[in-house]
């Protein structure tokens, strides 16, 4: 067996792009600063070295024109290419919602299946070090609500690489949201790693006290918290759905059948976030197995403020998570009295 390589999340993504571009000449990359920035390629280094290998025709620096770039990618995807677009920050999705939602997601359906739209929109979510309200949002819940899109949130370098390869080979529009705090984290990525199928959740930690569903930075937090909680005898089962569309609800349901308790943790704003969707699906399937209300730990219903003391209030913290788990595991009667 080859030795386990350890690479960063950013480098893993870079490898996926490189390998897919080598494999398939119809894949091309487009976005602001994807060919030039820093040591060469995207503000987070994900497209580094690509222009050198594949040339400026397939690695295209663009003007600052988010709507136009995504719209252009849609047109390219309709006509035989596989564009991989980078939006520098996920917050700029606001500028590209029309080509993404009214075009990419709907064209195949509207046109009665005449055509496919193999497009990957890469961007990122999450707060990191004071980027404040317009550079810290986690907008994935919007996209989960759009039929026709697929939605990927990789949490490890391994997943980042495998899922990006799958995304590029998928014949549908895939929104691929990375997390800013993860770009420079490391993890094992075997040389021979290939695609990872969509719709397969990962049980990152097994346990019987409660099920936790979390992704990316929140997943890391949950795993850390689980070590602490284990000392108190609380054994969390932690599930990373990896793709929100398609969603592997079965893995979550089966876990809840065993643990009888569920907590969902996301960095997206709580109100209207995807915790509600997972909760609904769990209720629909295993209501009778629930020994306590489904709980959630999410960002507060506020924009992300700049200063550390404030950002810490808005973005879920580990202490908050631990308290919520204790609450959940202590049983629903205690909860009732607290909340009412």
């Amino acid at each position: 067996m080859p030795e386990q390589r350890s690479v960063t999340y950013s480098a893993a993504l870079n490898e996926a792009l490189q390998e897919e571009m080598r494999r398939d000449p119809t894949v091309f990359v487009m976005g602001e600063e994807v060919a030039v920035w820093g040591d060469g390629g995207g503000v987070f280094g994900v497209t580094k070295g690509l222009v050198e290998e594949f040339g400026p025709k397939r690695v295209r620096n663009t003007p600052i024109s988010e709507e136009g770039i995504v719209a252009t990618a849609v047109g390219a995807a309709l006509t035989g290419l596989r564009p991989v677009v980078e939006l520098m920050y996920g917050d700029f999705l606001t500028l590209a919602m029309d080509p993404l939602v009214n075009q990419a997601a709907k064209l195949r359906y509207m046109f009665g299946g005449q055509v496919q739209v193999p497009l990957v929109l890469r961007s990122n979510i999450g707060a990191s070090g004071g980027k404040a309200a317009q550079h810290s949002q986690s907008l994935e819940s919007w996209l989960m609500h759009v039929p026709g899109l697929k939605l990927v949130l990789p949490s490890t370098p391994y997943d980042a690489k495998g899922l990006l390869k799958t995304a590029i080979r998928d014949n549908n529009p895939v929104v691929f949201l990375e997390h800013k705090l993860l770009y420079f984290t490391r993890g094992p990525v075997p040389e021979e790693q290939d695609t990872i199928p969509f719709g397969q959740a990962m049980i990152c930690r097994a346990g019987g006290s409660a099920t936790v569903v979390a992704t990316q930075a929140m997943l890391k937090m949950a795993l850390t918290a689980a070590d602490h909680l284990a000392l108190e005898g609380i054994e969390l089962e932690i599930i990373d759905p990896r793709t929100l569309v398609p969603l592997d609800i079965n893995t979550i349901i089966e876990s809840v059948r065993r643990t009888n308790r569920l907590l969902i943790c996301h960095e997206a704003v709580e109100r209207g976030g995807w915790a509600g969707e997972i909760a609904m699906q769990v209720l629909e399937h295993v209501f009778d197995y629930l020994d306590a209300p489904i709980s959630r730990v999410c960002a507060k219903n506020l924009p992300v403020p700049y200063s550390t003391t404030l950002e810490e209030v808005v973005i879920p913290r580990i202490q908050e998570f631990i308290s919520a788990v204790r609450m959940l595991v202590n049983g629903s009667n205690a909860l009732e009295s607290v909340f009412l």
């Binding site: 091309f28 025709k57 397939r58 295209r60 663009t62 003007p63 024109s65 709507e67 136009g68 770039i69 995504v70 719209a71 252009t72 990618a73 849609v74 047109g75 390219a76 995807a77 309709l78 006509t79 035989g80 290419l81 564009p83 029309d98 080509p99 009214n102 075009q103 064209l107 195949r108 359906y109 509207m110 046109f111 009665g112 299946g113 005449q114 055509v115 496919q116 739209v117 193999p118 039929p147 026709g148 697929k150 014949n171 549908n172």
Partner: protein, 348 residues
Amino acid sequence: MKGGAPIRDPDRVEMTMLIQTNAEQIPDLISRCPELVIEMFRRMLLIREFDSRLPDLYTEGLVRGSSHASTGQEAVAVGACLALEPTDLITSTHRGHGHTIAKGGDVNRMMAELLGRATGYCKGKGGSMHIADFSIGMLGANGIVGAGIGIATGAALSASIRESKQVVLSFFGEGAVNQGIFLECGNLAAIWKLPLILLCENNQFAMSSRPTETCSTGEITQRASAFGIPSAKVDGMDVLAVHGAVANAALQARQGVGPTFIEAICYRYEGHFSGDTVKYRSKSEFGAWKEKDPLINLRNKLAAAGILSEQQAEDLAKEAKLRVDGALEFALASPFPPPEAAWEDLYA
């Protein structure tokens, strides 16, 4: 500008397979390529006939949603599409029936789509605003004003990356030139020298709004200067003028020169959509434009050139009527999609 047209070897002109060999100006397309011009006339008649049925179909409840007739604008659609190769691509707008017919689309499937039938272009999922026929390079009507410009730019980028020598033509109304995507994609097309033709159908109205009220430049072509894109203004009631301008633009695009902007001046005969009371314009204005009717205009020219007798013209008109009658029959005889079909075609 009154454009010329590419020289065509008349023998090589097939009705749906027009091969352009070069684009030297020729003075008289009618005498050089009569079959081509007759085909223009035929397609224009078909558009006129097809879109004239819309108001009734809507009133009878056969067509739902919003449908937009392009009567009065036939010369733009046909002049443009017949200046392209069959393998070239177009994007359309909410007012797309004419573009589809001009590009060689099938009126049966289009009518079936309008009537929401399983045999329609989109299996009943799209309706009037979402007609598409990828087999003929018609990349779709679109309900979002301006969206087709983005798709066309992407298709042109794709043609450029694939080195396919295809040209992409985007039809859009003059109302769309105030949408941001026009700037973003016009700029992209220009810096990347994409094989794109931006064809603005100035039919004098965006719903009730006049371009003079909504577009800050007196001349819409001036906007193309914002991208450094060459532009031309053409009489959109004259199919030969449109054809010439587009042929030139296509040649330039194919040679790698980059995009062209063409404004075709025309007039929308019907209301904005079926149901519009059209209180915002006068009968006399409409009358004045009807004097320049693109069909009569072309018929007179063909008659003067002695290649279309009155009888032949009537026959062609009858043919168009029969084809649309046939389309309606086809559509009415077609089943509605079964409910299960709603679940199909979302993902590939």
